[in-house]
């Protein structure tokens, strides 16, 4: 099968994309090693470092969020695959002299295991690492056990919040408390319209008939619980998804919420605005106040068509931290 993508050698893909990315945004980011992206200007060591790990192929996630007010480093694996334990360890070691290290881990088997391996290795050197595990996916049901909830794009606003808290000089425990509070009340539901190919193997990561869409598909083409359904309008899609998200985060009238439409790659901003329009209308009708909204490509899946709809309840502190300045290439707050 011919892949209609601009590529060089598949085995160099991750290395080359990171080189291009750090060259393009060299004011904010640089490469510490072949697959570890750090800030161009490191923050002072008396603050807590915020790190994450994850596979490439989801650009701008996750390296796009390295920068002032957000991540200190992103430890990158190959396409769609978590970095190996030794690479995670290498990344953690770079921050051993900081006030603390918090590693944000998205709930996927490979990420969890390699984070564990990397932390075990770091601990042998006396480096203490705290983890925040994100599992915002509600495809398996709003009350599904944590093992059934994957980490989707929700890690990004969470990183914005804890990154701002770290910048203020808060301690590991204080940041963990803020992060976990937000983590407990955030949820993401994905919908896929068109599947993507794996850019190294050329294989489709899933199959979806032309006239169908699938609610609940994960960011690697993993199937949703309901299976393919007939394509619906933007309004109908939002009407299915928003009530599930409200239920998942137990949002009550009068509370403040964050709403993000995250495009998967082939879905246009035009479509995202239609989804946002209806979603905002439904949230307001439920008595919720949107304190932060965004339509953008934050975590993509190649040329996949669809989006992740993210909703979180934000208390005053989280809302304030979201508004704090940040200077990551893909999340600038003035």
């Amino acid at each position: 099968m011919v892949m209609k993508k601009f590529l060089n050698k598949p085995e160099n893909l991750t290395k080359e994309l990171l080189e291009g990315y750090t060259e393009c945004y060299n004011r904010q980011v640089k490469l510490a090693t072949e697959k570890i992206v750090v800030r161009a200007e490191a923050k002072s060591k008396d603050k807590v470092a915020i790190l994450t790990l994850g596979g490439a192929g989801h650009e701008p996630a996750l390296s796009g969020f390295v920068g002032y007010g957000m991540l200190d480093a992103s430890i990158v694996g190959d396409i769609f695959a978590a970095p190996g334990g030794p690479v995670v360890y290498e990344g953690l070691k770079l921050f051993k002299d900081y006030a603390g290290i918090i590693l944000v881990v998205l709930n996927h088997a490979g990420d969890v295991m390699n984070a564990k391996m990397g932390c075990m290795m770091a601990q042998r050197d006396g480096i203490k690492v705290s983890q925040i595990l994100t599992s915002d996916d509600i495809a398996a049901g709003v009350d599904a056990p944590i093992e059934d909830r994957r980490g989707l794009g929700g890690c990004i606003p969470l990183i914005k919040i804890i990154g701002a808290a770290a910048e203020q000089g808060k301690s590991v425990d204080e940041i963990l408390a803020i992060g976990e509070k937000f983590n407990q009340r955030m949820a993401t539901l994905a919908v896929t319209m068109k599947t993507a190919t794996h850019p190294q193997s050329g294989q489709y990561i899933s199959t979806l008939p032309d006239d169908k869409m699938e609610i609940g598909m994960g960011q690697h083409g993993e199937g949703g619980e309901t299976g393919p359904v007939a394509i619906k309008t933007a309004d109908e899609t939002a009407e299915i998804m928003i009530p599930e998200l409200i239920a998942a985060v137990h949002a009550k009238a009068g509370e403040k919420v964050v709403l993000i439409v995250n495009g998967s790659g082939a879905t246009t901003l035009m479509e995202m605005f239609l989804i946002y329009r209806k979603s905002a209308e439904l949230l307001k009708k439920a008595g919720l106040e949107i304190v932060f909204g965004r339509c953008d490509e934050l975590l993509t899946v190649q040329e996949s068509g669809g989006f992740q709809l993210f909703l979180a309840v934000a208390d005053d502190e989280a809302a304030k931290l979201l508004a704090e300045p940040s200077d990551a290439p893909y999340w600038v707050t003035k």
Binding site: P10, G55, G77, D78, I79, F80, A81, A82, P83, G84, G85, P86, V87, H108, A109, G110, M113, N114, K116, M117, A139, A140, D148, R150, H198, Q200, S201, Q203, Y204, I205, G216, G218, H220, G221, E222, G223, G224, E225, G227
Partner: protein
């Protein structure tokens, strides 16, 4: 013939060759239920293993170097699971030659290390469906017959791994990305279990020569 450093090098070279020849097939299998990159991941792992085994070291250390080599060479679940397997095998002994019982104990120790990383059991449609029966078959063979050779023990392991891999056809995935497909994962063979069965087959073939 006892199991030595040369046996280990031969096994890895053979495993790498088999996986190279099944590269597209493994990616295709993974594409059905995962993200289509298992062939890529396992081939990088085997390349890392072969490279790590080039460096001369005591046999136990060589197993551990291979574990690190795998974890350095690849990512995803394959990295920590297969890496842990070799790391754990190297923890079990300090001899330069292993007999049938020795290799079965090493496999057992490898499995224990893997089980520190995952709670997946037989029936969950993962590589554990090949690894657990293989390690058990090796242990039973070695325990039943103290005279069993490494080739006997590893042949029993390979047969059990192959059976385990084909048993995944009928299973519902309970771990990893395939899990979210639920019943729809039935009818697809698990790519990790298949590559694991190739590795056990290489162990059997390499120890026989």
């Amino acid at each position: 013939m006892p199991f030595t450093k040369e046996t280990l090098r031969k096994i890895l070279a053979e495993a790498k060759e088999v996986i190279e020849s099944k590269f597209d097939y493994l990616n295709e299998l993974d594409s059905a239920t995962g993200d289509g990159d298992h062939g890529t991941a396992i081939l990088s792992a085997m390349k890392g293993a072969v490279e790590a085994a080039r460096q001369d070291a005591p046999l136990a250390q060589m197993f551990q170097n291979i574990g690190w080599g795998i974890m350095n060479a690849t990512g995803g679940s394959t990295s920590s699971l297969l890496g842990s397997f070799f790391l754990g095998m190297g923890d079990a002994f300090d001899k330069e030659e292993l007999n049938g019982l020795g290799i079965s104990k090493a496999l057992d120790s490898g499995l224990k290390q893997v089980q520190m990383m995952t709670t997946a059991k037989v029936g969950d449609k993962t590589l554990m469906d090949a690894m657990i029966p293989a390690v058990e078959a090796a242990r039973l063979t070695a325990e039943k017959d103290p005279e069993a050779t490494t080739a006997d023990v590893l042949a029993a392991a390979a047969a059990a791994a192959a059976g385990g891999a084909s048993s995944t056809d009928q299973l519902v995935a309970r771990f990893g990305r395939a899990k979210n497909l639920g019943e729809r994962s039935v009818g697809h063979r698990d790519a990790g279990a298949v590559s694991m069965s190739y590795i056990f087959q290489a162990f059997a073939d390499g120890s026989r020569q």
